[in-house]
């Protein structure tokens, strides 16, 4: 267990500089976005009010007030989220291949550590989850900051103050911050399962090379099908309630995760090739 924590610490530190840069980039873009959407709105308001001789309340009645969607659906927010997600998706692959490719032969050292090899796998998986959760945490804080900026620029009468619950019900945010703790566990558990499946597919490729790419691809397809069994059943029969679909998906995800961990352990112990 101790070795597992050491490896997690090691994996987190390895990506920390790039990850901090990513967080700074997301923060800067979203803060600029908060200023830009607010200033643009105010410019539009002032121009329209001057042209049409309107008061603030008349403007709001005719054109609507600023609400948080103005920011959420701006390119600043969407692009920063897509950018961060893309970097993390790339890192899911890079976290393994960086130990093999280029000049690095660090995989020799990792595999020769006096610890169960599955700890390497668990540490990399944990590191990815920590990065995701950290990014989500930063995003929650950023929403607060962005709201303060908007409040500072746009007067009360020109904006609609929405409740946190309402803001977090928007499409993107409801996906990042599920409403209930159970949904949170289910959604992020499903995410962890997907990452574990991709990790195991990478190990197939690293163990069997060209044949491994095919094996990995087949394995990913089978895993997706297994996870999606409840949705497929629902599509065919239409008998299941939403809660049943969620419950069954949790079961198929746990099963898929178990298989991914078992296969990864087997490949790392018996088939890995450096």
């Amino acid at each position: 267990m101790n070795e597992y924590f050491k490896l997690v610490n090691f994996e987190v530190r390895r990506f920390s500089k790039l990850f901090l840069t990513l967080i700074v980039a997301v923060t800067v873009v979203q803060i600029i976005g908060a200023f830009m959407t607010s200033f643009n709105f105010m410019e539009r308001v002032e121009t329209t009010m001057a042209q049409k001789q309107l008061g603030e309340s008349e403007y709001v009645l005719e054109y609507g007030a600023y609400n948080f969607q103005n920011f959420i659906f701006s390119e600043y927010f969407i692009l920063s989220i897509v950018f961060a997600a893309t970097i993390l998706v790339i890192y899911v692959f890079f976290i393994w291949y960086r130990d093999w490719l280029g000049k690095s032969s660090f995989i020799y050292r990792l595999l020769m550590l006096p610890t169960a090899r599955r700890n390497i796998y668990f540490a990399k998986l944990t590191a990815i989850l920590l990065f995701v959760l950290c990014l989500v945490g930063v995003q929650i804080a950023l929403i607060e900051v962005v709201q303060q900026i908007i409040h500072g620029i746009i007067p009360d009468q020109l904006r609609v103050d929405q409740s946190k619950a309402y803001i977090y019900s928007f499409d993107v945010l409801s996906f990042l911050y599920p409403k209930t703790p159970l949904l949170f566990i289910l959604l992020y558990g499903l995410g962890a399962t997907v990452v574990a499946v991709v990790f195991t597919a990478i190990l197939f490729e690293r163990s069997y090379h060209l044949k491994g790419i095919l094996l990995g691809a087949i394995y990913i397809i089978i895993s997706i099908l297994v996870i999606a069994i409840p949705v497929i059943i629902q599509d065919i029969t239409g008998y299941l309630y939403l809660n049943e679909i969620i419950g069954l998906t949790a079961v198929t995800s746990i099963l898929t995760l178990g298989v991914a961990l078992y296969l990864a352990d087997y490949l790392l112990k018996r088939k890995i090739n450096v």
């Binding site: 050491k6 000049k103 032969s105 050292r109 006096p114 169960a116 090899r117 890995i272 450096v274």
Partner: protein, 229 residues
């Protein structure tokens, strides 16, 4: 003792190891000799469970390799096994963090023996110095067996001499060493046992001292007999 018993491995239709068998004892330097592609590196990786084999058995002191064995045996490949952005000092920290067998005193001793600077980044080292760091990271572990893959490959003559000196020092004493090379001249006078490998199998296994005394032949003489015919 390391026992390699009838190890067979096929890779992409090619038989890389054809029922290879040999032993390497503790306290002895065993040299695997063979041309490139003979299977020297593959058998070393097989011993360390870094590549799978199809059949046969490898035992270290009578046991199959497991996680605890990495405190007893280490492998020094022909490339750096540490993060290139680490300094030598950071490499030491990493090793100390993960290996109970890490001997900091010996590491420091080796550092001055090889005249290396702790603050140097691994990525900035010359090939010769990188090979020395690699050797250092393996030798500073208090392990019973050390496997070295081509430690003299592509490095300057002075670094070769320094590395060769390691074999006659207390750093190797009482340990079992398996070393591969295709340039036997550097270490012929140092080795106890030679295992001549060709085409994935052991062509000849011999005690160097015995051959010298009984038949008056050097390792190179026997190599000529085996490889040239």
């Amino acid at each position: 003792m390391i026992e390699v018993k009838n190890v067979y491995k096929k890779y992409k239709k090619k038989q890389v190891l054809k029922d290879m068998s040999f032993t390497a004892e503790k306290g002895q330097i065993t040299c695997l000799i063979g041309i490139n592609g003979a299977g020297k590196t593959t058998i070393m990786k097989s011993i360390m469970a870094l590549t799978p084999f199809d059949r046969g058995e490898i035992l270290i002191d009578g046991k199959k390799i497991n996680k605890d064995a990495y405190e007893k045996i280490t492998y020094i490949p022909d490339r750096l096994t540490m993060l290139p952005n680490y300094t030598i000092a950071e490499s030491f920290e990493f090793m100390a963090d993960f290996y109970k067998a890490w001997n900091e005193q010996r590491a420091t001793e080796l550092l001055s023996f090889f005249k290396l600077n702790q603050q140097d980044k691994l990525s900035s080292l010359s090939k010769g110095n990188a090979a020395k760091v690699n050797l250092l990271l393996g030798l500073a572990l208090d392990v019973d067996y050390i496997l070295m893959d081509e430690p003299f490959s592509g490095i300057d003559i002075f670094s070769r001499e320094q590395i060769a000196n390691v074999f006659t020092s207390h750093l190797i004493e009482n340990r079992g060493v398996i070393i591969t090379t295709h340039e036997i001249n550097d270490i012929e006078h140092l080795i106890d046992k030679a295992v001549l490998i060709g085409d994935g199998k052991v062509l000849r296994e011999m005690n160097v001292e015995e051959i010298r005394e009984m038949e008056g032949k050097s390792v190179v003489d026997v190599m000529r007999e085996v490889y040239v015919g």
